[in-house]
Amino acid sequence: MPEPILSVQDLHTHFLTDNKEVPAVDGVSIELHKGEVVGIVGESGCGKSVTSLSIMQLVPNPPGKIVKGEIKFKGKNLTYATEKQMRKIRGNEISMIFQEPMTSLDPLFTIGNQLIEAIRIHQKVSKKDAKNYSIELLNLVGIPRASEVVDEFPHQLSGGMRQRVMIAMAMSCDPEVLIADEPTTALDVTIQAQILDLMRNLNKEKQTSILLITHDLGVVAEMCDRVVVMYSGKVVEEGSVREILKDPKHPYTKGLIRSLPNIRTTEQKLYSIPGTVMRPSLDQVGCRFAPRCEHSFDSCWEENPKLLKQESGRQVRCFLYDEEKSERGVTSNDKSYT
C-alpha cells in the first residue's frame, strides 16, 4: 500500500479544565490516502473536532495541548512544525471547513475580501487577478450571481451559500487534503445534498483527500470510502463503509446503526443507546463504553481493551472479539482478530 498522505499516530490532545486534565483525544490513529474520503463518526464530545483541529495545529492553547503523538503530512511531522511552517500548510495544502457557516465568515468584510485574502496569503497574484479568481471559484461552487455576491457581506447570504463560500475558500489553493468538520450539520437536507455533491466533485476531479467529520451515518454512507468510529476520545472501530454499515462489530457502532430510522421495520419506537457519553478522564480504567454496553463483562471494567486488527484493515476495540477474554463470545463468530 502506498504511503498515506496524512497519518495520525497515537495522538493525545488534552484539555485543562478546572485544574483537571481531560484527554479529549486519547491515542487516536488515522490514515488518509490520496484521493480517499475517510469519515470520522461519533457523537458530540467524542473528540472528532479536536482531532481535526490538532491536525491543523489550531487547538486553542490554553486550555488545549497536544501532549503526545505524531501527525505526518507528506512525510513531514506537523507536531514539530513551527507556527510559520504551519501557516504555509494551512489553507494551502490542508484546508478546513467548519460546522457553523453562519458564524465562520468575518461579518465585517465582503465575501470577495475574504476570498482574496485566502488566495493572496499563499499565492503571489495581483488583487485584480485574485478577485477574478474569486468570482470563478464562486461560480464553481454554484453560487448564482457570483460577480455580485463577491461584493456582498456574509449576512446577506443564506447558510447554504455561506458554506459554499467556505468551500470556495478552502478550494482556492487546490489543497491536497480537505478537512470538513460537520460541514452539513447546520444545513437543511436539500442543501446538505448539494454541499456533499460539491465535495464529491472536488474529490473526484482534483483527487483531493477528504477527512469528513460527522455524526450522520447517512452522510458517511454516501460519501466515504473508509470510516473511523470514535467514542470518548478513542477509536473504537475502523473499516470500509460497506463493512461497518453491513456488519458492525463494536456494540457502540451497532447501537449507532440501530438508532437510525429504518423504513422496513415495524417497530414503533426508535432505538437509542441508553445513558450518555462519559467525560473522558486520565485515571479511568476499563472500556469507556462499558457503562452503556449491554454485553459488558468483568474484563470490560478492569482493563483497557486494545484495538484488534484484522488483515483487511478492519479494526475493533472490544473484548468480545478477544479470544482470551471473551469466554462468553456473545456475538463473535469470526476469530480472525489478532
Partner: protein
C-alpha cells in the same frame, strides 16, 4: 448608508428640542423668584423688576421659550450678567481651549489604551498583560486632581521640564485666529509657539486622558478576547494567515464597536467634566467658565454652558453612531 445618516440626523431634532427645554427651564426651576435669586437677598424691588424686564422673565413661558430658541438659532446665547458681554463671543475661545485639550487627551488615551488592550489580549496572562491591567486598574481608580498635582510637582517643579499652568507664555502671547493654539501657531508658521503650545498641553492631557485610557484598554482587551474565540477568527487562522493580519485586520475591527461607544462617552465626559483639570492647570476652558459662572450666579452663562456641552455630547454620539454603521454593514436602524 445615506438613508441611515439622514434618519440619524432627523433623530437629532427631538433631542435638541429636549435639550433646549431643559436649559430653558433651569432658570424657572429656581425656587422663588429667579430675579431675586440672581440679584441676592438685598436687591431692591426696582432692581428685581428691571432684571425681569431685561431678561423677559415677566412674559409668559411660551413666548419666552420661542424667543430663547429664536435667539439660539441665530447663534445668540444671551448676555452674561456679570460681564455684560455677549456669551457667544466669550464662550468661543474657551470652547476652543477645551476641545483642544480634550482632543490631545483622547489621542493619548486612544492610542495607548487600544494598543495596550490589543497586546494584553494577544499575550493573555503574560507579564505584559498583568502589568497593563494593574496599571489600568490604578488608572481608573486614581483621582484626576491627585494625578494632576503629582504631575505638576514632578515634571514642572522638580524636573522643570514642562510648564505647570496655562495654555501659553504670558510674556509672549499668541495672536489668536481660531483659538486652537496649535492650529494658530501652525497658521502663523511659528515653530516656537507651536512647541510652547504643545508643551503646555502635555501635562493636562495626560491628567485628563488617564482614566479614559484605562477604561479603553480594559474594554479593548475584553472585547478582543471575545472576538479571538470566535469561529471566524478560527477560519482566518485556518486560511494560514499570520497573527498580525488576524489581530489588526479582523479581530480589531470586530472588537472596536464597544470600544468606540466608550470613547464617545468619554469624550463627552471630558468636554463637560474637565472642570477639575482645567482649574488645577489654569486652563481657560469651558469647564472653568461654567464653574466661575456658578460662583457668580450668572444664570445665562450656566444655561449656555450646559447647552453647548450637551450639544457637543450629542454631536459626538452622532459621529459614533455613524461610525458604527460605517464599520459594521449589518447595522441598519
Amino acid at each position: 448608508m445615506l438613508a441611515y445618516t439622514s434618519r440619524r440626523l432627523l433623530m437629532l431634532v427631538p433631542v435638541l428640542f429636549g435639550m433646549t427645554v431643559i436649559t430653558f427651564s433651569i432658570i424657572h426651576l429656581i425656587p422663588g423668584n429667579p430675579a431675586q435669586t440672581i440679584l441676592g437677598e438685598t436687591a431692591t424691588e426696582e432692581a428685581i423688576s428691571n432684571l425681569e424686564e431685561t431678561m423677559g422673565l415677566n412674559r409668559n413661558y411660551f413666548i419666552q421659550y420661542t424667543a430663547y430658541v429664536g435667539d439660539l438659532l441665530q447663534g445668540d446665547l444671551g448676555t452674561s450678567l456679570r460681564t455684560k458681554a455677549s456669551i457667544t463671543t466669550e464662550i468661543g475661545p474657551r470652547l476652543a481651549a477645551t476641545i483642544e485639550l480634550t482632543f490631545f487627551a483622547m489621542i493619548f488615551a486612544v492610542f495607548i489604551g487600544i494598543n495596550a488592550g490589543i497586546i494584553s489580549a494577544w499575550k493573555q496572562n503574560s507579564w505584559f498583560d498583568f502589568l497593563a491591567m494593574v496599571f489600568a486598574l490604578v488608572g481608573v481608580s486614581m483621582p484626576v486632581f491627585w494625578l494632576a498635582l503629582m504631575e505638576q510637582w514632578l515634571f514642572a517643579q522638580e524636573l522643570g521640564w514642562l510648564p505647570a499652568y496655562g495654555r501659553q507664555e504670558s510674556r509672549d502671547p499668541i495672536d489668536p485666529i481660531t483659538h486652537f493654539y496649535v492650529i494658530d501657531s501652525i497658521l502663523h508658521m511659528d515653530m516656537k509657539q507651536l512647541i510652547t503650545s504643545l508643551k503646555h498641553l502635555v501635562l493636562p492631557s495626560i491628567a485628563l486622558g488617564t482614566i479614559p485610557m484605562a477604561i479603553i484598554a480594559r474594554m479593548t482587551r475584553s472585547s478582543m478576547l471575545e472576538v479571538m474565540k470566535s469561529d471566524y477568527v478560527r477560519t482566518i487562522k485556518a486560511k494560514g494567515s499570520g497573527q498580525f493580519l488576524v489581530i489588526y485586520k479582523h479581530a480589531l475591527k470586530n472588537s472596536i464597536i464597544p470600544v468606540l461607544t466608550v470613547i464617545g462617552l468619554q469624550v463627552g465626559v471630558l468636554l463637560g467634566g474637565a472642570i477639575l483639570t482645567e482649574t488645577i492647570f489654569s486652563w481657560p476652558g469651558i469647564g472653568r467658565y461654567v464653574y466661575e459662572a456658578i460662583n457668580y450666579r450668572d444664570y445665562p452663562v450656566i444655561q449656555s454652558g450646559i447647552l453647548v456641552i450637551a450639544f457637543l455630547f450629542v454631536i459626538i454620539n452622532l459621529i459614533v453612531d455613524l461610525l458604527y454603521a460605517f464599520i459594521d454593514p449589518r447595522i441598519k436602524y
